[in-house]
Symmetry: C2
Subunit: 361 residues, 2 copies
């Protein structure tokens, strides 16, 4: 007999890893179990490596702590941040899958306006598997969505769209505000469910948040470096921003698309605005020079791979931002180290290199 | 005694005209009465000038038919389309107000998801009176809206935004599709209420629809020319598109913002796709050359007024698009005529020129 309750195979089950940076037991996974359990998790343990992180029963995962990172990358481990969730990008590097979804451990399942639990991962996968439209704006939002299309006046030659590299999801409840805004509006909550996915147009920069983010690792992975943050660095909370600005100029150059909007997750708890201010304050004035820099970046035609683009970008960072602060000189070097480490762990042509693993379940 | 039921003065009551192009009695205004009655209407009667258009009681309006247009503009009336709703732009020219709202007579009041009638005009006014953010994308949409703000990573220097020139509203029920899409998807209806207003980023073009559109006439009015369409012209249904592309490159040059999204109106009836195809088919292939042209347009620094930008644009149209079809040579001339007529009816410095009116109530 036909049974409509049979669960279909989850989308991209063997082609997607979920990367989670954490310093605590992963109880938050209980709520995500119906959606995440079929997938493989890569847990990047930040902070004290002697601490044992508990992962709920039944999840398939590998876990890397700082000792693992040091062992696997050797001296190149210097490019991976410590005591900052920026360490998550190590997970992107050791994954062998085509797609990555990364989520923070204070993010829970949100509900849509009808009260239904939102399968955030499923929506990200839809976003990644349908094209983007960076070259012309469609006023009815995502034209590939059921019930929608391109409107009158949209050139037909652009309706094929381009490959989607990144899907940036949003947050209900605690919005992703900087410390000054948190301080000024401590009670503001995001309650508005905007039922839209849209492509961020070409040549437009945006603030990419790493809380609820998916991307095509094969297309754009090497650009997803979350920089030097946290321990020993003069700045924090700009890891995802840095990755977003680098990634976007490279996507624009290579002709890939970036989407934002659905899915929402439920962001449970605002981080401490005083702590955040201390981490952010240099970023708040540095970004006034970073944005014009990224808006003006031109990558030469000769750069045809993400790695080539990223190395070229690191040179421009060194040449043009080292004057802002010596930190950017160091960051430019770390960008090169990151690419070297990426290529070491992901030799071109190999699909499943034989690499040392961390603790694996 | 305090009475909370006293109606407040409608926003911009004496600073906004509602422009309606029509060929029929304006019964549709009955549904809009609670929202439109306080405002002045400019009705542009298309087609046979001997026909009498009935306007429901109680509305304050002036009405112009083709005879009025010919009388007021003399030989320059050639730039105003006939037998096409593109004639509406004559209304922009004769208005003396700071703001314009234009709406088609087959558009009715839509309901929001809570079932409440949407005051489209009020939302447009909110859109126009708050700044736009064309230089950086805010992932939580309009940062000036109640309950929203700029997210982490949004440069503080850009948070003042820029003046908003245009507010482009959307449509529930019948989406604004071209003839091929209408033919392929005759039953598709837009049922998705997306609760968002967003700025179209700088350097990004979009398909501007004239059905439900508001703008700041003082900022951008002379760029809102709806071109040569309909009677005697080889093309129709590209009037608003043309205006949108011209307007957007000029807004980008002068640093004004363009918003799209809320408010929705209820678009009642799909126009005939066969008739539309006949009007559109040249536009469908011409636009493949128009879009690259508009994407590449550079306006010189010396152009500091909308009129100067528009005249410069007309020269580039003549130089670069006349080869696509001789129609664009004629259109470029009409663009110049339009600006001459605009300046004649709107002498600089004068706030209320003494001009001949059409039939006035």
């Amino acid at each position: 007999m036909a049974n409509s309750n049979v669960s279909p195979t989850p989308l991209l089950k063997d082609e997607l890893d979920i990367v989670i940076p954490t310093i605590r037991n992963l109880d938050f996974l209980e709520m995500w179990r119906p959606f995440f359990q079929p997938y493989h998790l890569i847990i990047v343990q930040d902070g004290d490596p002697s601490k044992v992180i508990k992962v709920p029963e039944g999840f398939d995962y590998e876990l890397y702590n700082r000792n693992d990172i040091n062992r696997i990358l050797g001296p190149k481990a210097s490019c991976i941040s410590f005591k900052d969730s920026a360490c998550r990008c190590f997970g992107y590097m050791v994954s062998k899958k085509k797609y990555i979804y990364t989520i923070d451990d204070d993010c829970f399942v949100a509900k849509d306006p009808s009260g239904k639990n939102i399968n955030a991962l499923e929506q990200h996968i839809k976003n990644l598997l349908t094209p983007s439209t960076p070259n012309f704006f469609n006023t009815l939002y995502d034209p590939y969505r059921e019930g929608a299309d391109f409107v009158r006046g949209y050139p037909f030659s652009l309706r094929e769209g381009v490959a989607t590299a990144v899907s940036h999801g949003l947050w209900l409840n605690i919005p992703d505000y900087d410390a000054p805004t948190q301080l000024v509006k401590p009670l503001e909550r995001n309650t508005r469910y905007v039922d839209a996915v849209l492509t961020i147009p070409k040549s437009t920069l945006f603030p990419m948040c790493g809380m609820n983010l998916a991307f095509d690792r094969k297309l754009i992975g090497p650009a997803m470096y979350f920089g030097l943050m946290g321990d020993g660095q003069p700045i924090g909370r700009y890891d995802d921003m840095w990755a977003g600005w680098c990634m976007k100029v490279i996507c624009d150059h290579l002709g890939f698309g970036v989407k934002t909007g659905l899915p929402y997750i439920w962001h449970s708890k605002a981080s401490n605005p005083f702590v955040n201010l201390k981490k952010e304050y240099k970023g708040i004035y540095w970004q006034e020079e970073l944005i014009p820099f990224f808006q003006a970046v031109k990558l030469p035609k000769e750069c045809t791979t993400v790695q080539e683009c990223y190395i070229e970008l690191s040179k421009q960072v060194k040449a043009k931002l080292a004057g802002v602060d010596e930190y950017f000189d160091k960051l430019a070097d770390a960008m090169v180290t990151w690419i070297e480490a990426w290529d070491e762990l992901n030799p071109s042509g190999s699909k499943a290199a034989d690499l040392p693993n961390g603790a694996s379940k």
